[in-house]
Symmetry: C2
Subunit: 411 residues, 2 copies
Amino acid sequence: MLETKFVANGKSYRLPAKPIVVICIDGCADEYLDVAIVHERMPNTARLIRNGHRFKSRGALPSFTNVNNSCIATGCPPSATGISGNYFLDPETGEEVMMNSASYLRCETIFAAAANVGRKVAIVTAKEKLRDILSHGMNGIAFSSEKARDAKMETHGISNVEEFVGEPTPEIYSGDASVYVLKAGAALIEQGKSDFAYLTLTDFMQHKYAPEDNEALDFYADLDTQIGRLLDCNAIIGITADHGMNAKNDSDGRPNVVYLESLLVEQFGPSNKVICPITDPYVVHHGALGSLVMVHVADKDQIETIAQWIMSLDGIAEVHNREMAALKLELPADRIGDLVVMSTRDAAIGRTPSDHDLSLLTGGLRSHGGRYEEMVPMLISHPLSDSYFRRSQGDPRNFDVFDFVCNGVQL
Amino acid sequence: MLETKFVANGKSYRLPAKPIVVICIDGCADEYLDVAIVHERMPNTARLIRNGHRFKSRGALPSFTNVNNSCIATGCPPSATGISGNYFLDPETGEEVMMNSASYLRCETIFAAAANVGRKVAIVTAKEKLRDILSHGMNGIAFSSEKARDAKMETHGISNVEEFVGEPTPEIYSGDASVYVLKAGAALIEQGKSDFAYLTLTDFMQHKYAPEDNEALDFYADLDTQIGRLLDCNAIIGITADHGMNAKNDSDGRPNVVYLESLLVEQFGPSNKVICPITDPYVVHHGALGSLVMVHVADKDQIETIAQWIMSLDGIAEVHNREMAALKLELPADRIGDLVVMSTRDAAIGRTPSDHDLSLLTGGLRSHGGRYEEMVPMLISHPLSDSYFRRSQGDPRNFDVFDFVCNGVQL
């Protein structure tokens, strides 16, 4: 492994002669680290910060998983990646479809570029939905813990994952689905099968448990053990998140939801459509209820009137028209609604009551997608150079995490 | 000291038979605690959290000192307190004036109400500007560290403060101005001169130093020592902040400022006026540059046009008209502009270049006032009851800190 460089999407990345590991802790609001660290459940992570840095970084909006993982994988905002949600109304077909496929990605990945200069790249995801999009055009290892047992050398760059990790494929609705990703990543680095790894977890635990819940503390302690293994590999480690997480319940603990399509139909008649871009196959997490929705307005002359009316509703914090959303939220104008609507911290936005199965949300709703889940932690295992330290104290972005670990650290 | 109750602004407060202490760490963005705790510089605060709780609370907007201290003192949002900034355009006189005086406060304080049922209330501020507004109608002790030597029994409820605290009056542009407040508070509680104290600091250090700077770490360690003294008094302690703090500089380290009145005059002609409500006597802190300004539009028919135009500017994140600002930001409609404008995380908004003396800002600009400085930590020294724990995990407000310490803790 020699120090070298590569370029992806016009940005240059240095490749130090050490393993590079970036971890995306899905749904890791700062509070999870705050509480786990003060309760001394993350001693390795505390050591990582003391030897390096912890600061806040700003994620991409909508603060959803596919959006931010695509940004992290490319070093670009959604306006460049083209990924504006998990789910969208395709303007070319008029169909509502998942945005899971790499065919939607509009720029190259850091992973493909690093592999092209000879790095042994590995991508381990928890959710299978992310694997295709992240491993696009990349020559290396890519598998999900969700489908670990199905990984094959020809298609995934690795086989016999269960044997290699030493554990069977975990249940996707579990904390283990995430811990497994880090175990696999640590094994790949320890055994020299990878020297450039992206490990991206699932937010099942964060959707289900608040930071002070014992289940969350135990989960973060398990993550910390694996972070310790990676530190022992002398890796340069960057840790960030795709989005935060907030409780969205009323005082009785029931989901606090603005059913926006129902309200729009009542006020302005049918054919105004609400798309919930959080919609994904993992409905137990959030019942497709998040903090940001797209509104497709039937009568384009009514857009500003409807925007004003939505803004006046309880539970709504921001409304932007397509042009302003593209400009201010860095979104691809052709893959959003006529309006982009974000909720307050304690509210979620849904379509109609029949579109969301609240019975799945035992213990209430915790979700994300909007401004109040935009800020996420960033941890770097090594001291930063002066210029990157200044950047870390400004408005660093979570999707610059590879820039920070490759170009920013003092070695 | 017997357990009793009181009511302020329609909310009932229980008064446990223990000292109650609320600390407002001015400008305490979460990062300051994160970094100081992980570097083991705040062992008493870490213990306080382990025995109680740490969570995020949402402050009032604008995220300024007078606004939030008034909210904390009353348990009410700015729409009720009437305090919308440090500085405003008085619609009755047409004059731009400081909003420092208690005559602007539109509701009663928790302090006056607690004193009325026999609690020994003490208010110690760092900045003299806050003393008048907070001690309005209150029978007890109230002084500032800035003017500690001037406190007199007849006017401040205490005299010989320097002797009592054991140290001379500190310089206001210092960390000591804050540490002195906590030393005074600890002495008041230790010696039984107070059993209900509000201790509110100054953000000089946060304006000048980032969380990882040694000066900031030393400052937080000094605060922690005094927090330890208060814990030893067996007090119920709540700690929060009035606002966060972000760097607002370009890549060369120079203040990143949108001079909005200059731009408006250029685009729409004169008589559109920008008011910077962060303006206060402590210009070394921020040069009157913050993240939120009021715009008074000359031609009222142009309000929406100007709103759209401002929103399209770099560095601007939100623009609300008066009605929407009153509704969504909980502001008093008669004490704001026709438009309320907030900046992005890394930008500040000014009036014209000649209104701001950047030479005061050695080391760059760190400031606050907008959405990105709205979220602040809240720490409670004791376990919360189930219902307050649930609230703590929802969307708790910093100005409910007295509610949390009086009504929320399990004893």
